[in-house]
Structures are given as C-alpha cells and as structure tokens.
C-alpha cells in the first residue's frame, strides 16, 4: 500500500511537477514517476498518471480515490460527481479572450457582422462567458495550438488558458478580457470520501498546512 493509503490520479503536463512536489511532501516516493515518462501506473507509489482532462473521469468512477486537475477542466466538464476538496494554489493560469490588435477588431466584427467567431478548446466556458456578456458567438472547436486560428483569419479571437501570456505575445495576440483564474484542485471520489475518510482527511489536513 502507498504512503497515503490512497490511489492518486496525477495529471501529466504543466501540473505534474507541482503535484509530484506535493506528494513528496506527504512522503510518497515519486522518484520512479519522475524518471519514467512512458509508464502510466505506479502501484507501489499508489499513483496513476494521465492527461488532466481524464482525471475527473478516473476519480468519478473510483479508479482513483483522489486526483489533481485544473479548475479549467472542472468548469469545462461539469456534472462530474466528484468532491472538489482543496484549492492547491499552484498552476495558476488565466482563462482569457485574446485577439489580434486588441479589442477593436472584435467590436467591429460584432457591430458589422452581428457575431464573433471564437476558436477554443473550451467551448462551454466560451459559450457561457459570451452569453453572460450578451454577445453572440460562433464556436470553432480546435484541438491543437489555438493561437494559429486568428492568424489565418479563420476566427476573430480565441478563448484559451495562459500562464505568462508569452505564447500569445509571440503570435501577436493581445489579452482582451480575463474570464476566470484557474489553479490546481484536489478532487475525490464520493464513495472513497466516505469509506476512506481518515486517509483523505489526513492528506487534506497536511496539504492545508503546507499551502498556508
């Protein structure tokens, strides 16, 4: 059994380093996870690794007791039956609207054409944001580098997550609106939350102590 007595879903990508650092602090041996980036399941450490957007799925089904994922993932896939236990504070990113040449082209498109074309990997967040601010949009769903879409003239702007704004700037895009700040969250399976309450509470308490 692992040091925490729990199976933990760890996101690959930007949140992985911060998550493994946290687990080190809890006495979990993450050396193998750090050194082997092809293996997915680490039974001794009680760790399974996956892309961040899969973390809520594995946790909801109880394949992992707890997991770490971005708030952006949780907002984009609502209705997942998982506990959101803790804001872990790291992995801070901003969900933004960005466009070429600032907000003026967006306003012009809205005025003359009646709607904005927005490329994004976050259709739900984009629809909600523009709906709330009373603007009609046409979503263009893309999977890869969203920054490319406005450069080719396919869309007027994008909704995407940015940490430093560097990639946006390098592609000549400006942040026009900030939608929501997203950080890493600790989530838990509802059944594990009851049946493994002591283990989960101990972990949450230690994480609270170390983050404040």
């Amino acid at each position: 059994m692992s040091a925490t007595g729990l199976t933990i879903a760890v996101p690959r990508g930007a949140l992985m380093g911060g998550t493994l650092d946290l687990l080190d602090g809890l006495g979990v041996d993450t050396a193998e996870v750090r050194s082997n980036d092809r293996k997915l399941l680490f039974e001794d450490a009680g760790i399974v690794t996956m892309r961040p957007s899969d973390v809520p799925t594995y946790v909801e089904h109880g394949a992992a007791d707890i997991g770490v994922t971005g708030k952006d993932v949780l907002i984009e896939a609502p209705g997942r039956d998982v506990y959101e236990l803790l804001d872990l504070g790291f992995g801070r990113c901003e969900m933004v609207v960005a466009a070429r040449g600032g907000s003026e082209p967006l306003e012009r498109a809205l005025r003359r054409l009646g709607r904005l074309r927005i490329a994004t990997k976050y259709p739900r967040i984009a629809t909600e944001h523009f709906g709330r601010t009373g603007r009609q949009i046409e979503i263009v769903a893309v999977k890869g580098s969203v920054e490319l879409a406005p450069l080719t003239g396919m869309v007027d702007g994008i909704v995407d997550l940015t940490a430093t704004g560097k990639t946006l700037a390098e592609n000549g895009l400006e942040v026009v609106e900030e939608i929501v700040t997203c950080t890493a969250r600790l989530i838990a399976n509802p059944v594990a939350h009851k049946l493994k309450a002591p283990e989960i509470d101990a972990l949450v308490e230690r994480l609270r102590g170390s983050s404040s």
Binding site: L86, R185, V191, H193, L195, A197
Partner: protein, 323 residues
C-alpha cells in the same frame, strides 16, 4: 449493419439475466420475509402527479403526450408513484404499511459517462412508522438484503437532509444566500462553499461551523466533535438514530455523515446512502419523507431505501472475486 439502442440502455442476455434474476429474487425474498409486500405501478405517470411529489418532478427526463394531449412522463423513481398509491388506493389501510418493489426508472445521464439511463431498482417503503423506529427498520433491512446477496463490505452513510438548512437559518445567514451555499454542497464543491461562506463575513465560530460541519463523517466521534450548537435538534435526532442502530447491532456498518445531501426535494429528515468499496458510485440511497404522501391528500410519515440492482451486481461479482 448497426441498429443502435439509446445511450445508457442495454440488452441483457441469458447468462447475465440469470444472475440478475437470482440477485433480484434474493433481495425481494428478504423484503418479503420482513413483511414487505411487492407492488407494481405504471412506468408512465401524468407529469402533474410527479410534480405534486417534487416540484422538479424528481428530475423526470422523458415526456410524451397521450391521445388527449396530456403530458406523460417516465418515472425517475418509485417513491413518488408509491406515495400516490398509498394516498389513493390504500388510504383506508390501518397501521403501518410495508411495501417493496423491483422496477425500472429513468433519468438523464451525461453522454459517454458510462451511467445508466434506464436502471433497475429494488427497494422498500415503510409508511406509518415515524422517527428512528422506521429509519432503523429500513436501514437494517437494506443491509441484510445486501448480505443475503453476498456482499460483505458494504456500509451505509447516515445523515440529515435538513441539517445544513437549519444551520444556515440558526446562524442567521441571509435567506437569499441559502440557495447558492446548498448548491455548492450538493455539487460537492467544498472550495466554492468555503469561498462563499468567507464572503458572508460571519464570526469565526459560525464560519468554521459552516465550512467544517459538512466535512465531518465517520463513527460516533463525529457527533461528539459536532457538539450541540445551532444544529442541535438535527444532531440530537442523529444521536438517537445512531443509538438505535447500535442497539440493533449494525453500528459497525454505519458511517455518520454530516455533509450528506440527496438532491431530491422531498426528504424531511434522516437520509441514507449505501456504499461498497468495489463500486465508485453509491449502490443506493433513501431517507425519510414525512410530507410527501400528504401532498397526495393523506398525511403519513414514511421512509424508504432503493438499491440499484446493476451496481449491487457489480459489487457482488467483485465480492466473489475476493474469496
């Protein structure tokens, strides 16, 4: 050629069907032996009937019109139809009524989430026995039905559906904030709950209670840690219920859970949820609904529990794998 069936529905072939029948029969036999008579109600009800039971029609998802243009709905649980039966067909019955059922209900599920749109429930309703006597009877019966089905590691979460609402009122949280706080709790969004409680600007004690109380779950120590305070009345009821469950010898199966919520609106007091370590979702749940039958015209205290037969089947298979 592919002839699809709706997402979340299934065909069942003989090997599985034999097991499902055997399982359903064990559950039903346990209920029947305890004096619970089986009932059958129509799969479609007038939508208005479901709305009488719950203002959101218990989240019924599928509606159609009959030849007169009246709105019919596929039931989303058995409790409302049985409340209707009790208030109409059985309104003259003297003394407690014990009813059980094994039937399909329907709900909306997310696309590709692996959940069932059509699901088979086996459950019990105990009408006319108020307070902890009724609750202990349904909880212990559900636990022994699962034991009869071969489960060994199942537990029951016990909470109070009115607890947090009472706490908000007692701590004088403005009425217009109740809804968003309760929604956070229902969504299991503890981060959002803490943020919104902090924004209320309450005294330290009150703030800690609103954030901390729903996190308390476990054995009887939970009730000690909760103390008395503003939620005293609901906690007192839970204490009495726990003592009664202890007296029946099932305390080791009970998880007291002060954060337990059920999203159906008709629960008035104790609520239950059933868990097994082999399944990531609850196997079933229920609670006390003292006002529901009254909405159909005959006030009677009542409580019940429903089990999701397919999920129990998964737990049963896992349990056999353990041996």
């Amino acid at each position: 050629m592919i002839h699809p069936i709706p997402a979340g529905t299934r065909d069942v072939l003989p090997d599985e069907m034999r097991e499902l029948r055997a399982l359903g029969e064990r559950l039903r036999a346990t209920f029947e032996q305890a004096g619970y008579g089986e009932v059958w109600t129509p799969m479609v009800e007038y939508e208005q009937v479901l709305r009488t039971g719950d203002e959101r029609a218990a989240d019924a998802a599928y509606r159609m019109f009959d030849d007169q243009g009246r709105v019919l709905a596929l039931r989303s649980d058995m409790t409302i139809p049985i409340a209707r039966v009790v208030a109409t067909r059985l309104s003259d019955a003297e003394g407690p009524l014990r009813l059980c059922y094994s039937a399909h209900s329907y709900r909306v599920v997310g696309q590709r989430t692996g959940q069932q749109r059509e699901f088979l429930q086996s459950g019990i309703e105990l009408i006319g026995v108020p307070g902890e006597d009724g609750e202990v009877e349904v909880v212990t019966l559900a636990l022994s039905a699962l034991e009869a089905a071969g489960l060994a590691r199942h537990r029951v979460g016990v909470g109070d559906g009115s607890l947090y609402r009472r706490l908000l009122t007692a701590l004088e949280v403005p009425g217009d904030r109740h809804r968003e706080l309760l929604e956070c709790l229902t969504r299991r969004d503890m981060v959002g709950l803490e943020l919104r409680v902090d924004a209320l600007g309450l005294a330290r004690d009150a703030r800690d209670l609103l954030v901390g109380l729903p996190e308390l779950r476990g054995g009887p120590e939970v009730l000690e840690r909760a103390g008395d305070g503003p939620a005293g009345e609901a906690l007192e009821r839970l204490r009495t219920l726990y003592a009664a469950l202890e007296a029946r010898g099932v305390a080791d199966r009970v998880i007291l859970d002060l954060g337990l919520v059920r999203d159906l609106g008709y629960y008035t007091g104790a609520i239950f949820e059933i868990y097994d370590p082999a399944v990531g979702f609850a196997l079933g749940g229920g609670g006390r609904y003292d006002d529901l039958i009254g909405r159909f015209g005959a006030e009677r205290p009542a409580c019940g529990i429903a089990l999701d037969v397919q999920r129990v089947h998964v737990a049963q298979a896992a349990e056999e794998g353990q041996r």
